[in-house]
C-alpha cells in the first residue's frame, strides 16, 4: 500500500472499457415531467443514454420487519420524482468520462420543482414518500416506563437540553468506484467494486437485475477506505452492472469528489431533546430522550434507515446507570442524500449527550466532573450489568479507564497548561464510554432487518509447501486484516505470520460473508479463522503424532515444527507434514483423501469495548479559532492482537471525531442545494489540524470471543466529538452559554464569549 503497489478498481487496466456519467437532479425535490436524451445520444462516442424506463424500473429495497417502519424503495434511477439534488436520473455510457460528461450536459430534465423537506419541522408539509405522509420512516418508542415522569418530577435537578450534530460524510480517500463486465464464457457478470460488503453487493445486484446470485461475481480489490459509506449498495454500481449485462461491454464508473460529497451516503444529522433527572449527589434518576435522525431521502440497502434511530434509542445510557429510561427515536425522510451506517452510528452523538449531561449536572450541583462520573459509572462488581435498556454489559474497565485517563492527563501537565495566561483560553474535556462491537446474529436479529447479518465464516488451507491461505467473509479495506488474520492463524499453527496469506473480497473465492463494518472483522472473521486454524492444527497434530509415533495430544506446534511435548528434538517440520499429506499420503495409515484444510465460523453476541478520552483545546478569543492541541486515549478492546493496528484505528478515528466536532459539515441552502461540494467547503482536517494522539491500552479479555479480543474500529470516532466539545465548554467555563452542538464554528465560540459570563464561577477541574 505505502509503496504504491496497491490495486484499486481504477488501477485495473481495461483500455476499452466504457465510462458512465450520471445526469443528476439539479433540484432537491420535484416531479419529473419529461426527460430528453436525443441530443446526448447524438454525441460522437456515446454508446447509450439510459433512463429508469430503459432498465425496467429496477430498485433496491431495504426493509425492517417491524410495524413502526415504513418500507420505501430506492430506484436505481429516479423516474417519477427526484428526492435530492444530486440524485441520479439518467446514465450516459460513452467511450470516455469526458465524452460521457459532455453528453450528460445535453440531456434535459423537465422537473416541476416543489418545496424541499430539510428537517423534521417541514417533514409533513410535502412528504418525501407518499407511503409516509408524516415524513417519518421509522418511529420507535422504546423502554416505556410509567414511573419515569414521576421520578423526574421528584428529582432535585432536572436538565432539559437539546443537542444537535451536523450532517457529515465518510469522505474516504478513494471514492466509490466499480468496473462491470459481462463474461459470456461463464454467463456471469463480474463487478469489481470498491465495497466493504461484496456478498451483499452480489445479492443487491442479482435482485435488482433479476438474475441468479451465481451469475454475479463481486470482487473488492484494494479499497481506499470505507467507514460505512461502502457497507451499503450504491445505485450507481448497480446501474453499471445493468449496463454491462445489457450491452455486454465493460463499463467503469469512478465517483468524483463532487459526487462523493453531494450524492453518496451521509450520516449523523441528529437532534436530541433530553430530560435528565439527578439526585442531590449527582446520580441519574432517569433519562427521557426524544431523538430525531434526518435519514435523507431513501433507506439504504441492506441496512435500512433504521440504523441510526435504533442505535441511538437502544444504547444511549452507555457506561452509566441512568435509573429509569425511555426513548423515542424517529427517522425522518428529508430531501438530502440517504444515510449509511457511517463510522460510529449514533454513538458519537449519544456519548456527546451523556457526557454533556454529566458536565452540566456536575457544574449545577458543584460536583467535580470526574467524581460525578465515578458515581454513575457501572462499577466492576456490578458486571454483568443489565440496564433499563435491556442490554447486558459484560465486564469492562470503565472506572479504571477513567482513573487512568485522569492520571495520564495530570502527569502530562495538562492542568498547568489549562491555566494558560497568554491570551488564549484552554480547556480539558474528559469523557468515558463503551461501544458495542461485533454484533452477532442474535443481536442483529433484534433489529428485525429483512436481511440479518451477524455470523461469519473462514476457510484455512495449507498447501504442499506448508504455506497457508485463509479466506474470510469479512472484507478489510485498510484495517490491516492481512496482518492480524495471519497472526491469529499463525499462532494456532505454530508458524510464522509471513507464511499465512489472507484472501477476501471475492464472492467466487469466499463462499459467503457479511463484510467489514460495525467493528466486527477481527472478532467475528478473526474468530472464525481461529476456529478453522484450531481444527487444522488438530489435523497437523494427528499426522505428526503418526509420523513421530506418539498420540496427537502429545504434540505441540511451535516455531514451524510439530514436536513432542517435553522432547523438543523429536519433531517434524510443518513443511514435511504438508508434503507428506499432499505427495506421500500412501505412507499414512488413514485419511488419504483428507487435505490440510478446515472451516470455521463465529457468531458472538456482541461485546462492549470501552475507552476514556481526553482532549486539550486552545481557543483564540480574537478569532474564535479552536484547535485541539493534545489528545489522549485509554482504551480497552480486550486482548490486543496487534498494537500498531489498534493504535492506527484509534488515531484515525479520533481524527474523524475531531473533524466532526470542529470542521466537517454538509450544509444546504434553504432550497436544498448542497453548499459543500468540494474539499474547499467540506473541511476534512489535515495533518496541521490533528494533534498527536497518545494511546494507552487496558486489556479485559473477552470471554465471548475466540481470541479474547473485542471490536474497536469505531471508538476513536465515537469519543472524540464529546471530548472536544467538553474541552471547548471548559475553555469557555466562565461564560454563560453552553455549546451543545457540533460542529462548533469560530462564530459560535465568539457568540458564547459575548453572551456574558457566569455569576458564580466554579472551576470544576
Amino acid at each position: 500500500m505505502l509503496r504504491g503497489a496497491a490495486t484499486f478498481v481504477e488501477d485495473i487496466p481495461r483500455p476499452h472499457a466504457h465510462h458512465l456519467a450520471f445526469v443528476r437532479s439539479p433540484v432537491a425535490a420535484g416531479r419529473i415531467a419529461g426527460i430528453g436524451t436525443e441530443d446526448a445520444r447524438a454525441v460522437p462516442g456515446v454508446l447509450a443514454v439510459v433512463t429508469a424506463a430503459d432498465l425496467g424500473h429496477p430498485s433496491l429495497t431495504a426493509v425492517l420487519e417491524r410495524d413502526e417502519f415504513v418500507p420505501t424503495s430506492m430506484p436505481l434511477l429516479a423516474h417519477d420524482r427526484v428526492r435530492y439534488a444530486g440524485e441520479p436520473v439518467v446514465a450516459v455510457v460513452a467511450e470516455s468520462r469526458y465524452v460521457a460528461e459532455d453528453a450528460a450536459e445535453r440531456v434535459w430534465c423537465d422537473i416541476e420543482e416543489c418545496d424541499p423537506v430539510l428537517s423534521l419541522a417541514d417533514a409533513a408539509s410535502t412528504p418525501v414518500h407518499p407511503e409516509a405522509p408524516d415524513g417519518v420512516l421509522v418511529d420507535l418508542q422504546m423502554f416505556a416506563d410509567d414511573l419515569l415522569d414521576e421520578s423526574l418530577a421528584r428529582a432535585p435537578l432536572v436538565l432539559e437540553e437539546t443537542f444537535r450534530s451536523g450532517r457529515v460524510t465518510a469522505a474516504p480517500m478513494e471514492a466509490r468506484a466499480c468496473l462491470a463486465e459481462w463474461r459470456d464464457r461463464d454467463e456471469q457478470l463480474v463487478l469489481h467494486c470498491s465495497t466493504q460488503v461484496p456478498h451483499q453487493v452480489r445479492t443487491g445486484v442479482a435482485q435488482a437485475l433479476g438474475i441468479a446470485e451465481r451469475q454475479v461475481r463481486v470482487v473488492a480489490p484494494d479499497v481506499g477506505g470505507g467507514f460505512g459509506l461502502k457497507c451499503v449498495v450504491g445505485r450507481e454500481e448497480v446501474v453499471a452492472a445493468a449496463v454491462a449485462a445489457r450491452w455486454r461491454v465493460p463499463v467503469r464508473w469512478t465517483e468524483d469528489r463532487q459526487e462523493n460529497l453531494t450524492a453518496a451516503f451521509h450520516g449523523h444529522e441528529q437532534e436530541y431533546r433530553v430530560r435528565a433527572g439527578f439526585d442531590a449527589e449527582g446520580r441519574f434518576v432517569g433519562v427521557d430522550a426524544d431523538i430525531v435522525c434526518s435519514v435523507g431521502a431513501y433507506s439504504a440497502y441492506p441496512f435500512s434507515c433504521g440504523v441510526e434511530p435504533l442505535m441511538a434509542a437502544t444504547e444511549l445510557p452507555g457506561v452509566y446507570k441512568v435509573g429509569r429510561y425511555a426513548a423515542r427515536a424517529r427517522g425522518v425522510a428529508t430531501n438530502k442524500p440517504p444515510t449509511a451506517p457511517y463510522r460510529g452510528v449514533s454513538r458519537p452523538q449519544i456519548v456527546l449527550v451523556m457526557e454533556r449531561l454529566l458536565d452540566k449536572a456536575a457544574r449545577r450541583l458543584g460536583i467535580d466532573r470526574v467524581e460525578i462520573r465515578r458515581r454513575n459509572t457501572i462499577a466492576p462488581h456490578e458486571f454483568p450489568y443489565t440496564g433499563p435498556n435491556g442490554i447486558t454489559y459484560e465486564p469492562g474497565s470503565y472506572l479504571e479507564a477513567l482513573e487512568r485517563c485522569v492520571r495520564e492527563v495530570t502527569d502530562a501537565g495538562w492542568w498547568e497548561r489549562r491555566a494558560g495566561g497568554d491570551g488564549l483560553r484552554r480547556g480539558i474535556g474528559l469523557v468515558n464510554f463503551s461501544e458495542r462491537t461485533a454484533y452477532g446474529t442474535a443481536t442483529m436479529g433484534l433489529r428485525r432487518m429483512q436481511m440479518t447479518p451477524g455470523f461469519d465464516v473462514s476457510h484455512v488451507r495449507m498447501d504442499a509447501s506448508g504455506d497457508v491461505v485463509v479466506t474470510s467473509g469479512t472484507c478489510g479495506h485498510g484495517q490491516g486484516h492481512e496482518t492480524t488474520f495471519a497472526q491469529i492463524v499463525a499462532d494456532r499453527l505454530g508458524i510464522r505470520p509471513e507464511r499465512v496469506k489472507l484472501r477476501q473480497g471475492d464472492t467466487d473465492l469466499v463462499s459467503f460473508g457479511w463484510g467489514t463494518w460495525g467493528s466486527r472483522s477481527l472478532v467475528i472473521g478473526g474468530g472464525a479463522a481461529a476456529v478453522a486454524a484450531r481444527t487444522l492444527a488438530g489435523r497437523l497434530k494427528a499426522i505428526a503424532g503418526e509420523l513421530l509415533e506418539v498420540g496427537p495430544g502429545d504434540i505441540e506446534l511451535a516455531d514451524g515444527y510439530a514436536r513432542v511435548r517435553g522432547v523438543p528434538e523429536a519433531r517434524v517440520a510443518v513443511e514435511e507434514i504438508a508434503a507428506t499429506v499432499h505427495f506421500r499420503s500412501h505412507t499414512l495409515s488413514r485419511h488419504h483423501d483428507q487435505l490440510l484444510e478446515a472451516r470455521g465460523a463465529a457468531d458472538p453476541p456482541g461485546m462492549f469495548s470501552n475507552a476514556a478520552h481526553a482532549a486539550l483545546v486552545e481557543v483564540d478569543p480574537g478569532t474564535g479559532d479552536a484547535r485541539v492541541v493534545d489528545y489522549l486515549v485509554v482504551e480497552d478492546c480486550g486482548v490486543v492482537v496487534n498494537p500498531t493496528v489498534v493504535d492506527g484505528q484509534v488515531r484515525g478515528g479520533v481524527a474523524q471525531g475531531i473533524a466532526a466536532a470542529l470542521y466537517e459539515e454538509l450544509t444546504y441552502s434553504p432550497e436544498g442545494q448542497p453548499l459543500a461540494g468540494t474539499f474547499m467547503d467540506y473541511l476534512v482536517p489535515t495533518a496541521s489540524e490533528i494533534p498527536p494522539v497518545a494511546v494507552h491500552h487496558l486489556q479485559t479479555p473477552c470471554e465471548l470471543t475466540e481470541t479474547g479480543a473485542k471490536g474497536m474500529g469505531e471508538g476513536g470516532t465515537i469519543g472524540a466529538p464529546a471530548a472536544v466539545l467538553a474541552a471547548l465548554n471548559d475553555a469557555l467555563r466562565d461564560c454563560e452559554a453552553d455549546l451543545d452542538h457540533i460542529p462548533v464554528r469560530p462564530a459560535d465560540i465568539l457568540r458564547v464569549l459575548t453572551t456574558g459570563t457566569r455569576t458564580e464561577r466554579e472551576d470544576t477541574a
Binding site: E101, D102, G423, D620, G624, D625, L662, T678, M680, S688
Partner: protein, 297 residues
C-alpha cells in the same frame, strides 16, 4: 469533473501569446500555473474554447529590485518568492516572502504564479492584497504594446480586472518599500482561502507612523484599502492604543454586502478587527514571517 472540450496552444514569446489570444478570440484563456483555472474548468465553471499555455515563455520568471520598485515577472512561482533570501526583496518588501507562505499548499505554491494570481483577482489572494498595499503597477502586453495599470484601477470586481481582451500580464511592480509590514490571515484549516486577511505596511520615524497602508482581503469583491485607518495612523504614535483604534476603523470598513454572502458579516468584522490589531503589532515588532492561524494574541 472533467473539463468541456478545448483547444490547447503553446506559446514561446509574449508576442506570440497576444497574437494567439487575438486569433483565438475572447473565449481563449491563458494557462499559467493553472491552480485556479484548471479546477474551475473541471467543474465546468470556466469553459474556455482554447488555452494558451505560457509556461514555455522565457524571461518572465524573475524578481528584480529597481530602485524603490520590486519587479516580479508574471511566471514567477509563489514558491520562488517564498524562498527568496535576496536583500533586495527583504529590504522594504519583506512582507512578500512571508505572505507567500500563506498561499494554499506546497504543490499550489510550487506551480501557481504571481502573474496568474494578479490576473485571476481573487479578493482573498495574497498577491492582490499586496499589490494594493504597495500601490503596485501591473504591466500588461496587448495588441498595441505594453501599458501600465495602477493597482487601484486594476481590480474592478470579483475575479475581474482592467485587462483587455488579448492582454497578457508581464510584470507586477511593487512600489513604496517600507520597513514595517505584515500580512495575516485566518482560515479554519491551514492553507485554505482566508475568511479574512489584513495586510499593513508603514514606516516609523521619530516614534511616529508614516506612509501607512492597510488592505483587507475577503471582505469585498476586491482587495479593500482602508483610508480611514491609514489617515488615522499617519503621524500616530505606534502602540496598542493606535493599533486598537485603527483596528476598529478597519472593522468598520467591513459593511454588510461587501463580502461573500455567507450570512456571517458580524463574525468577519470581528475577525478583521483582531487581525488588523495583530498585524499592526507584529509589523511594529519588525519584519517577521507569517504565523499560523491568525497569530498569537
Amino acid at each position: 469533473m472533467k473539463p468541456a472540450p478545448f483547444e490547447y496552444h503553446r506559446a514561446y514569446t509574449p508576442k506570440e501569446v497576444t497574437e494567439l489570444l487575438l486569433e483565438l478570440g475572447e473565449d481563449a484563456k491563458i494557462l499559467a500555473g493553472g491552480q485556479s483555472l484548471v479546477p474551475m474548468m473541471n467543474f465546468r465553471l470556466a469553459r474556455p474554447t482554447a488555452l494558451v499555455d505560457i509556461n514555455p515563455v522565457s524571461g518572465l520568471d524573475y524578481i528584480r529590485r529597481d530602485g524603490d520598485v520590486l519587479r516580479v515577472g508574471a511566471l514567477t512561482r509563489h514558491r520562488s518568492v517564498e524562498l527568496s533570501t535576496e536583500p533586495d526583496v527583504h529590504n522594504g518588501f519583506s512582507v512578500l516572502p512571508g505572505a507567500a507562505r500563506w498561499i494554499g499548499h506546497f504543490p499550489i505554491r510550487s506551480r501557481g504564479t504571481v502573474g496568474g494570481s494578479i490576473a485571476h483577482a481573487d479578493p482573498t489572494a495574497e498577491w492582490c492584497l499586496l499589490a494594493r498595499l504597495y500601490d503596485a503597477e501591473i504591466v500588461v502586453l496587448g495588441e498595441h504594446g505594453t501599458r501600465t495599470v495602477p493597482s487601484d484601477e486594476w481590480f474592478t470586481g470579483f475575479l475581474t480586472t482592467a485587462a483587455l481582451p488579448g492582454e497578457l500580464v508581464l510584470e507586477t511592480r511593487f512600489r513604496r518599500p517600507r520597513r514595517h509590514g505584515t500580512l495575516l490571515e485566518y482560515a479554519r484549516r491551514r492553507g485554505d482561502f482566508a475568511i479574512a486577511a489584513v495586510a499593513v505596511a508603514f514606516d516609523i520615524t521619530d516614534n511616529r507612523c508614516h506612509d501607512v497602508s492597510m488592505v483587507l482581503g475577503g471582505v469585498a469583491n476586491e482587495p479593500l484599502r482602508v483610508p480611514e485607518a491609514e489617515a488615522y495612523l499617519e503621524g500616530a504614535e505606534p502602540g496598542e492604543r493606535a493599533w486598537a483604534e485603527a483596528a476598529r476603523l478597519a472593522a468598520e470598513a467591513v459593511t454588510p454586502g461587501t463580502g461573500p454572502d455567507d450570512g456571517d458579516h458580524g463574525y468577519r468584522r470581528h475577525l478583521v478587527g483582531t487581525l488588523a490589531r495583530r498585524a499592526l503589532a507584529e509589523a511594529q515588532a519588525g519584519p517577521a514571517g507569517p504565523r499560523p492561524r491568525g497569530g498569537a494574541s
